[in-house]
């Protein structure tokens, strides 16, 4: 059985960076559904699965894996939009019901894919399958693409949410839905769009990571726990926190799994996450306090 936190990558130092990026990439979609909409989204892993199988299916049908990767985000986004509009929007603020509903949708997607494609492992071709050497370090180009795509997704998310009218509309919706509604914002549509974007990003992550892993119907399940660890450690709703948490946990796994056994490394990652969650709030409070102190000293000077 595949260990829960395993992301199978060969040993070299560049892979520590790839693991950091992977942890951010699998969690960034949760920033929309869990971080902003407060949906404990157990179907997130299955949207990664949908992305991976879309890449595989299109590759099989057309021979173009790149086309499959381009189609993966919209396919996952459409499924996400349907799940939100048809099921989750009717369960607003009913946390347990939402949890069960997302678990049920995840089960349906997983079993549906297993019925169509069987449980046999599938491979998605590496679209580049070449490496470059930089300062003696061998860098497989597809892994570099994964790292660059992660940076692009994070920057795009930050800009979209902070600098655009749509982002302001969505932030207003999640901060105070009643006020947003009475100021003319269609909050129902805003929630659906946010959930669809989160699902689409999960689909993108699933497709981008597929050439680095074996794809089976359990593919999404193994990413779900690390994605939630990152999202929770980062602080719900904080994109900066999510990136820091992804780098910390991915970096920890990367540094450890090449020196100790993979299972022990994953256990230590969970331990780091738990300690990090406990230490986060006092640490942030102390940092904010010292920043206030510095401002006061500067003003009095």
């Amino acid at each position: 059985m595949t260990p829960l936190l395993a992301v199978s990558l060969p040993v070299d130092s560049f892979n520590v960076i790839v693991l950091m990026a992977t942890y951010v990439l699998i969690a960034v979609g949760l920033h929309y559904s869990f971080g902003l909409l407060n949906v404990v989204n157990l179907v997130h892993g299955e949207f990664l699965l949908v992305g991976a199988y879309t890449a595989f299916a299109v590759q099989e049908a057309t021979g173009s894996v790149v086309l499959g990767m381009l189609l993966a985000p919209p396919v996952a986004a459409i499924l996400g939009a349907l799940a939100e509009r048809l099921v989750l929007s009717r369960l607003k603020e009913r946390v347990l019901d939402t949890l069960l509903a997302t678990f049920g949708i995840a089960l349906l997607l997983r079993q549906g894919i297993q019925v169509v494609y069987t449980a046999n492992p599938r491979s998605v071709t590496d679209p580049i399958s070449r490496s470059i050497t930089v300062l003696g370090l061998v860098i497989p180009l597809w892994r570099l693409v994964v790292v660059l795509a992660t940076v692009a997704v994070v920057v795009a998310t930050a800009l979209l949410l902070a600098r655009t009218d749509a982002g302001l509309r969505w932030r207003a919706t999640v901060k105070n839905p009643e006020l947003a509604e009475t100021l003319g914002i269609d909050t129902r549509r805003a929630r659906t769009v946010l959930f669809a974007i989160g699902s689409g990003l999960a689909g993108l992550a699933g497709a981008l990571l597929a050439p680095l892993n074996t794809v089976t119907p359990q593919y999404g399940t193994r990413f779900l726990v690390p994605a939630f660890l990152v999202a929770i450690l980062g602080g719900q709703g904080s994109l900066v926190g999510l990136v820091v948490a992804g780098v910390l946990l991915g970096g920890t796994l990367g540094a450890l799994q090449f020196t100790i056994s993979s299972v022990t490394a994953q256990m230590l990652v969970v331990l780091v996450a738990i300690l990090g969650i406990r230490a986060r709030d006092p640490l942030l409070a102390a940092l904010r306090g010292s920043a206030r102190e510095r401002r006061r000293s500067a003003q009095s000077a």
């Binding site: 901060k175 006020l179 947003a180 009475t182 100021l183 909050t187």
Partner: protein
């Protein structure tokens, strides 16, 4: 359209589960002027406003500018020309005052009405500040500015003077009078002085039902309002 009332309620009832909070209300707000809805805490005033805004399920008829608004969302009610200033002066935490104003103009930078901004100079001074860091009085002013920027034909004002320092109350009463020159107002109040200073007509709500209505000064002379509002 000037003859058509801005708002008409016919047999409006609202219930939370099996508890009816507002019972068969008939009420009319003309296209201009200030109508006050007076009542003690728990009389159902805020519930009534939320039902008008489409935020609560209801029975009966709500007509906005003569159009039946059954099934409309809050956004649609707002787009039909009704703005709501909630009692708690809700804001979007972590979002700046300038961004609040941008939302209220429906993301139209040309819609930032200079006249409205001139009424609330403090908001320009605080434009880069997160709205949740404003004082209570400043939040009330932000709430009124947000309502005005959506260019409404009717504003629902929910207890604007509640919890505000007396010196700010006078400022708010003055603002309400200036607001009433631009559109119709339905002013929900417990404060009798505010109602007397601004209202053209008033309804008194008691345990979810209208128990008196008429000119506020006449009702005041008759002792009706004191009797109904006395704690």
């Amino acid at each position: 359209m000037s003859g058509v009332p801005a708002l008409e309620l016919e047999r409006l009832s609202v219930a939370y589960g099996r508890i009816t909070v507002v019972r068969e209300i008939d009420l009319e707000v003309p296209a201009s002027g200030v109508v006050c809805l007076l009542g003690r805490n728990g009389a159902g005033k805020t519930t009534l406003l939320k039902a008008v805004m489409g935020l609560l399920p209801r029975t009966g008829t709500v007509r906005i500018d003569g159009r039946d608004s059954t099934g409309w969302s809050g956004a649609r009610v707002n787009r039909a020309g009704v703005a709501w200033v909630p009692q708690e002066s809700g804001v979007f935490p972590g979002i700046t005052v300038a961004e609040h104003l941008h939302v209220a103009t429906r993301f139209d930078r040309a819609g930032l009405d200079r006249e409205v901004l001139d009424l609330f100079p403090v908001l320009e001074q605080r434009s880069n500040q997160h709205a949740d860091t404003l004082s209570g009085g400043e939040r009330k002013m932000l709430g009124m500015a947000l309502a005005m920027l959506s260019r409404p034909r009717l504003i629902l004002l929910d207890e604007p003077t509640e919890g505000v320092a007396p010196v700010i109350v006078d400022e708010l009463v003055d603002l309400i009078k200036r607001l009433s020159e631009r559109c119709a107002l339905l002013l929900v109040e417990q404060n009798l002085d505010t109602a007397l200073a601004t209202g053209d007509h008033c309804y008194v709500l008691e345990q979810g039902s209208i128990v008196a209505s008429g000119d506020p000064r006449t009702l005041h002379r008759d002792g009706e309002l004191e009797a109904r509002l006395a704690v």
